[in-house]
Amino acid sequence: MKMRYVLAVLVENKPGVLVRVAGLLSRRKFNIESVAAGKTGDPGITRITIEVEADEKTLEQVIKQLNKLVNVLKISNLTSEPAVIRDLLLIKVRADASNRNEISQIVETFRAKTIDFSPQSMIIEVTGNEEKMEALMLLLSGYGILEIARTGKVALLRGSKTLINNGEARENGKNVL
């Protein structure tokens, strides 16, 4: 059965590494919902969060194939563990003096933020899980959504456990010969 999985992938911060990861996913026809990449506390390591729609067998292949990339240090399937998963969404919605207050109430209810106003529009920032985003977008669509930008999902394990401390990536880093 197909479901969505969130993978955290630690990679060496080398030129082209995102292309290697994205290229692999695309040429093996893996279905990607979102990809988000950014630096970590270690300047040598980049964290890529990938949301993939797959059945279990395909997921296993995604992980194994990614592991073959020389620059990939560690992959963790955060779907199977307690994790905080967040996506940041910016929505530009049609708004004027007549309905601005109404929209602001929705924004407040969803613990979102209004970050820009113009006479005909406003921009709302919201983070959260998929359901929350969908519900907010549904409500705002009544006013006219002009544009949407999302970061794609990022995620961390709950508790003090981290990818690096619990993985072998660093120990293995010394020498493989």
């Binding site: 082209g16 290229g23 692999l24 296993e60 292949q61 592991n67 020389v70 493989v176």
Partner: protein, 558 residues
């Protein structure tokens, strides 16, 4: 002492004990070729970059050592792509150096600029664009390490012109640090024990051996395991030299053009021991029917191959040679005599066959069988791709390790002839035959100049049916004989082509001329091209039609 980047490449090659490079010069590798001018490294200059990379591939398959390639930027580099993809599909260790425009010009569409690291990303094990001279020695060290460890493969290093010219200190690192690359060599003892138990419990076991046996150098271990347990061995095209084709336990090749008995054995088997093989569609036919009754043990160094296409009962990740060595210790002789009898019934029921009439046209299979006989099976063989390749797999019984170079995964026409040059360079004392088709030989026929220049005594046997035979066969069988663009019209005259390059050209047009031509070629100290004019519309049988279960073979001929 400071040296320039090009010198560093040469020094690094020496450290890696590389004595031969295959390549073609050009504007962006002038520094490199200037250093090669008085280096103690042999350079085999091809006539097209594709020829160089296939030759390096043939060299690697024949010697087990990495093939090294030089080519210039832009078209020089893009001309390598087919060869790199060929090597990648068959896990061939190559280290490829390409020139690149100077760093300030990268990304400006400069003259002869191509993004070769981008282009080869999907067809290399890994690749590098060197942008800092200080990284160069370590990069070369890593490239050789990656190419020749774990699952082998091609690694490309793109060298901008200014990096080749810049000077700096050369320190070749003794070790490499690749935190994301940790191939597993030792098989899990618990899994090996489970495998041994499954073997002991099986009544109809078959070993399915692939190219991993060859790359791991596990020929001896495979033989020992088969002989100790009495399990018959079917091989893939890539695994043909992994197990002696003359051995009573050999079933020959399985798959689309495999033997009837190998395929039937797979269909009835209760246990498949897949060794360094990857369940390619040419082997399995319709996947859901492949070995449907069998429990599958899969040994492979690449964890991603396990479970990729078929569900495996006992996966063992590790180096084939080491895993087999452990497995041998844990196995006991199996009672397979009844099973072998059953297989022999299939063998008798549908043997490989063709009818060579004494006064008729030459059968292509007859030519290959005679090459096998006249060489005693001891020659190094390269093939092109097509009917002649499958007939070689069927009728040449390989008994020596690393004696075959053939493009399996990518199926590259134009591979075999340059590959034979690499085989001969790598193993100079040996008899090398290139078995070619008249179509594929022409795809890199310019390498005749290389053959002639270096006077490499390769014997090129052109199985000339004046058709693109395999395509014609499919058109005959599946497209109602509508022969679309497969007629090669007796052009060119291969004897004259050979002579134009200063090479001996022979022709055989009658069955009685086949053996004398082969003998004459073997006796000739230099290179020879033999134009075997064979039956035009002979088909390769048996054959599993595409996407059919491998039990449903079209037997033909008989």
């Amino acid at each position: 002492m400071k040296i320039n980047g090009a010198q560093m490449v040469i020094e690094a090659l020496k450290k890696e004990q590389v004595d031969t490079v295959f390549g073609y010069p050009g504007g962006a590798v002038l520094n490199l070729y200037d250093q090669l001018y008085d280096a103690d490294i042999r350079h085999i200059m091809s006539r097209h970059e594709q020829g160089a990379v296939h030759a390096a591939d043939g060299y690697a398959r024949a010697t087990g050592r990495p093939g090294v390639v030089f080519a210039t930027s832009g078209p020089g580099a893009t001309n390598l792509v087919t060869g790199i993809a060929t090597a990648h599909m068959d896990s061939v260790p190559l280290v490829i150096f390409t020139g690149q425009v100077a760093i300030p010009h990268i990304g400006t569409d400069g003259f002869q600029e191509a993004d070769i690291t981008g282009i080869t990303l999907p067809v290399t094990k890994h690749n590098y664009l060197v942008t800092d001279l200080a990284d160069l020695p370590g990069t070369i060290r890593e490239a050789f390490y990656l190419a020749t460890t774990g699952r082998f493969g091609p690694v490309l290093i793109d060298l901008p012109k200014d990096i080749q010219a810049a000077t700096g200190e050369f320190r070749y690192p003794k070790t490499v640090s690749l935190p994301g690359y940790n191939p597993v060599y030792q098989g899990h003892p618990g899994q090996i024990a489970r495998a041994a138990k499954a073997i002991a419990q099986s009544k109809k076991p078959v070993i399915y051996a692939g190219g991993g046996v060859v790359w791991s150098g596990a020929e001896q271990e495979l033989l020992m395991l088969a002989e100790k347990t009495g399990i018959p061995v079917a091989t893939t095209l890539m695994g043909l030299t992994g197990f002696p084709g003359t051995h009573p336990l050999s079933l020959g090749m399985l798959g689309m053009h495999g033997t009837y008995w190998a395929n039937m054995a797979i269909c009835e088997a209760d246990l498949i021991l897949a060794v360094g093989a990857r369940f390619d569609d040419r082997v399995t036919g319709k996947l859901s029917n492949f070995a449907a009754l069998a429990k599958i043990i899969h040994i492979d160094i690449d964890p991603a191959e396990i479970g990729k296409l078929v569900d495996v009962s006992i996966p063992i990740v590790g180096d084939v040679r080491r895993v087999l060595a452990e497995l041998i210790k844990k196995t006991e002789p199996c009672h397979t005599s009844h099973w072998l009898d059953r297989i022999n019934e299939w063998r008798a029921e549908a043997p490989l066959c063709y009818h060579q009439e004494e006064d008729g046209e030459i059968c292509p299979q007859f030519v290959i069988e005679q090459i096998y006989r006249e060489t005693g099976g001891s020659a190094l063989i390269s093939t092109e791709v097509g009917q002649h390749q499958m007939w070689t797999a069927q009728y040449y019984r390989f008994t020596r390790p690393r004696s075959l170079a053939s493009s399996g995964g990518l199926g590259t026409m134009g591979y075999g002839f340059p590959a034979s040059i690499g085989m001969q360079v790598g193993r100079p004392g040996e008899l090398v035959f290139c078995i070619a088709g008249d179509g594929s030989f022409q795809m890199n026929i310019q390498e005749m100049a290389t053959l002639s220049t270096y006077n490499l005594p390769v014997k090129v046997a052109v199985i000339n049916n004046q058709y693109l035979g395999m395509v014609r066969q499919w058109q005959e069988m599946f497209f109602r004989r509508r022969y679309s663009s497969v007629d090669l019209k007796q052009v060119p005259d291969f004897v004259k082509v050979a002579e134009a390059y200063g090479v001996l050209g022979l022709r055989a047009e009658k069955p009685s001329e086949v053996i004398p031509a082969i003998r004459r070629a073997i006796a000739e100290p230099g290179p020879v091209v033999i134009d075997f004019r064979v039956k035009a519309e002979e088909n390769v049988f048996p054959m599993v039609p595409p996407n059919s279960p491998i039990s449903e073979m079209v037997r033909g001929n008989g």
